[in-house]
Structure formats: C-alpha cells, structure tokens
C-alpha cells in the first residue's frame, strides 16, 4: 500500500486513485453478483460430483422428493385453480370485444403450458421449499451439525445438498404439470360455467392449437427452475454465518435470488427453446 506517501499527493495520482475508487464502487455490486453466481454454480457442481459416488443417498432423496413434491401439491392446486380462473376471466372479456371467445381455451392453455405453469409453480416451490432449504441448512451450519457430519466422515454436500437438488429437478416439472391441469380446469369452469363460452369450441381449440412441444417446453423450463431454486437455497443455507440473524438473511437472499433467477432464466430459456423447437 503506497497511499499516504508523497507520491499519492500529486494531483494526477490522486485523480487516478479517485477514478479507481469510482470504478470499484460502480463494479462492486456487479462483481458481488458474479461471485455469488460462481459460488452457487460451484456448489451445484460438487453436488453432481457426489451424486455418482457411493454411498447413494436413496433415503434422503425420497424424503426430499416427498417434501418438495408431494407436500407442495395442495398449494399448487389452489394457486393453479385461481390463476387459470383469473386468466380466463381476463381473456374472455378481452376476446369478446372482437368475438374471439372461442379461442379462450387454447390461449389460456398455451400460456399455462409455456409460461405460467413453470414460472408460477417454481415460484411457489421457492416460497415453500427454497426458503426451507436455506433455513434448515443454515441452522445446521450455525449449530455445527454440518461440521459434525464432516467429523463423522460423511460428506455434507452428498448428504444434504445432492438429494435436494436432484429431487427439485425431478419434482418441479411434475408440479408444473399439476399446475397446468388445474389451471385449465379453473379456466374451463369460469369460461364455460360462468361466462357461457361454448364448451365444444373451448375444448376442441385446445386440442387443435396446443402441441406436445408446448408441454415439453414447460417441462424443460420447470426442471431448470428446480435446479436453480434448489442450488440457490442450498448455497445460501450451507454457507450461512452469523447466528439466527445470519440464517434469516440467508433465507431472504435465497428467496429473492431464486425468484429473480427464475424470471430472468425464463426469458432466455424461452428464446433458446423457440430456436431449438422451430
């Protein structure tokens, strides 16, 4: 460090230092974000490294799948039903303006398959499960349970992180499918049952316009979102520090980062998948 010396006093030197500080201030947050992403991806990599090594953690895997998937079904049913219903209400009133209400079924279904299903299912899972991962692993970190695993010669990434990430990759797409099915049901109830859209048009247009690619697109997205939200939740919890407050902050960061990542990833995935599927 040479600041404080005579050289630092020359105006040019001082200007250079100020400029340097300014650049540092401007790029600091961006660098932090990059560092955080890098660390999360590193943990993800470790999780996959340990996935293919003995012993296989079947029990932990199934427990995680139950917690992430099965236990999320009620909330997914509820949210899916109302999202489908509200979306249907909006589309019917808009499409009626140019007498296109026969298209409501296919429009709602396409939107649910491609966008709303994966994104909203993943966000609901983040709220319920991503936060729980950060809290649980964070508490285990600060109460030294993760160190205890180390001392008992059990790799904590393999024991704690791998099952959660794998279970998320599998379960979020399945929840997405549940979401889409109930969403369409909600839309049907509102459009056909309440607003008097023709039942035959509603259903036959779904059949006509929705292709298998649309469903696949949603499933691919959902599993990428599952990977992202679980890696973020696990990373934040696994490296939590600073007592109860630290766990709280880790949980907040996990939820915010996961939600933002899901929405950002959604755009790029849509772009890529449209290019791939033609």
């Amino acid at each position: 460090m040479s600041n404080g010396s005579a050289a630092a006093q020359t105006p040019r030197r001082r200007m250079a230092q100020d400029a340097g500080r300014l650049v540092g201030k401007a790029t600091g947050p961006a660098l932090n974000v990059l560092e955080e992403i890098g660390n999360t991806v590193t943990l993800m990599g470790q999780a996959f490294f340990w996935l293919f090594r003995r012993p296989f953690r079947w029990r932990q895997m199934l427990q995680s799948m139950e917690f992430i998937g099965v236990d999320s079904i009620p909330v997914i049913l509820l949210v899916g039903l109302f999202v489908g219903a509200a979306f249907s209400l909006q589309t019917v009133s808009a499409f009626r303006m140019f007498s296109a209400d026969a298209m409501v079924g296919s429009t709602v279904t396409l939107a649910l398959c491609r966008e709303l299903g994966p994104v909203l299912a993943a966000i609901m899972v983040t709220a319920r499960v991503g936060s729980a991962m950060a809290t649980e692993l964070g508490s285990m970190r600060i109460t030294e349970q993760i160190d205890a695993l180390h001392t008992m010669a059990v790799n904590p990434v393999q024991y704690l992180v791998t099952p959660r990430i794998v279970a998320s990759i599998i379960m979020v797409p399945l929840l997405n499918m549940v979401f889409v099915v109930v969403g369409v049901l909600g839309a049907y109830l509102v459009a056909v049952g309440v607003l008097g859209v023709d039942k035959g048009y509603f259903l036959s247009n779904i059949d006509w316009y929705v292709d298998i690619e649309d469903i696949v697109q949603g499933l691919v997205k959902a599993s990428v979102f599952g990977l992202a939200l679980s890696s973020i939740g696990c990373y934040q919890g696994f490296y939590a520090k600073g007592g109860a407050r630290g766990v709280g902050l880790a949980t907040t960061r996990a939820v915010v980062q996961a939600c933002v990542s899901i929405l950002v990833l959604d755009y790029f995935l849509t772009d890529v998948l449209f290019a791939v599927q033609g």
Binding site: P55, S139, M140, T143, E144, Q145, D147, A148, H150, T151, M152, A153, V154, N155
Partner: protein, 266 residues
Amino acid sequence: MVSLFRKRKVAQVPVRDERFQIQVRGLHKRFGDNEVLRGVDLDIERHQINIIIGGSGQGKSVLLKHLIGLIKPDQGQILVDGMDIVPLKDYQLNEVRRKFGMLFQYAALFDSLTVEENVAFPLVEHTKKSKAEVREIVRAKLDALGLHGTEKRFPSELSGGMRKRVGLARALVLEPDILMYDEPTTGLDPIATKNVDNMIAETAERLGVTSVVISHDMASTFRIGDRIAMLNEGTIVVVGTPAEIMHNDHPVLREFLTTSGVVGHR
C-alpha cells in the same frame, strides 16, 4: 535449511515420538486481517486428558478444528500418529477422521433424528452391521451414559446435559482413539458440570482414549486434566501438569487462576 527470502522460521519436522498421539508444529491461520494462530506448537499425549485453556477468542476452537481437518492451516504441520494431515484431500481425511470422535460445544445433534438415530448414525454410515446389532450397541452406549429410555426422543426434548451425553455416545460409538471436547461444560449448572467432568474422566479411564478438551473452566480443568496447555494470542504459552501450571508465573495464566478462584491472591 536457511532461506534469505523467508522471514519466518521454517517449522522443523518433528521427530516421531510414540508418547504423542498428535503433534502440531508451527501452525499459522489467519481469517482476513485477523491472525488467529501464530505458530502453535503442541503435543497431545496418548491415553491422557489433554486440556487446552485460554480466553474467549484466543483461537481454541479454531485449533481444535485444525486437529480434525475441518480447517486447513495457512502454514504448519499436524501429525496424527506420525502422519501429516495438512496436505490430505477430503476423501483421504475421512480415513483419519475415523480415529476421532468429537463432542461439540452444543452437542451438534441432528435435530431431525431421534436420539437413537443420532447415536446410530456413524454405525449406519461406516459399518455393515444389521439393524438389530446397531440397536443393541446404541442401547448399550446410552445405558452406560445413564440415558436409558431416551431412544425415541428428539434432541430438542432433552436438557443441555443430556444432549451432551448423547453427543458423547455418538462420538464413542465407533470406538475412536481420540476424543475431542469443545468446551464441554459451557452453559451447564455446577452439578451438570461435575457430571460432565466425571463422564470425561471415566471415558478416558475405561476406554484408554486420548482426550483433547478445550475449556475455559479452570475448576474442571484442574479436576480432570493430566496435561494442561494455555493458548494465548495465537501461541501456546505454557504447558505442563496441573501442579506445574499451578506454580507457573505467566501473567495471563496467573490472572486466569486467581479470578477463577482456583488459587488465592498472593
């Protein structure tokens, strides 16, 4: 070996001595700007209760975590039974860790598992014993520590002292050579403290294990310690038997002894 470019003294490779289970030489560790360990030299004697004392924030826990490879030092050597564990990779360390059992400050029991599952954990992970055998061993360990009938309870339903005993049962279940205790009596009332002391002494005697205890509880230290070392400002400043420690003149040690009431003011 003298180098012009190295200001620090190069740690000498210790000569292997069978009396010592763990030998630490020239251990340095810094966290950011905070240099916690500044050249720790320490020998842990086999089959004895070795106690490391020192004030809060002097790096006792950090030192303990180095011994079992949870933290990598910046510099220095840690020889466990003559093998340097510092350069070992994680999976190689796992072999070394099988020699250790560790009781954490707050026991670090897995709160999602019952007492029985906690104690059985190392057995399930590292042995091929049948369920019945595991259950039998776990019950024997729990009974030996006066924890009969707690098998199905969760750690959150136990008192601090009981949790520590469960933690000890878990640390003992694979019959390690070395047992490490991180501040075993912190947060316990005087009677529970005495029980934990007896538990440590009995375990050492009955199983012949090497014990390493981190403590700032001077009364317990003198009650059970065979050898005492004091860590202050990142180095070991005093080592000796309790009698030697009692008559040592190191100023911080004297203050420790007088304020804790182990010896009177002179």
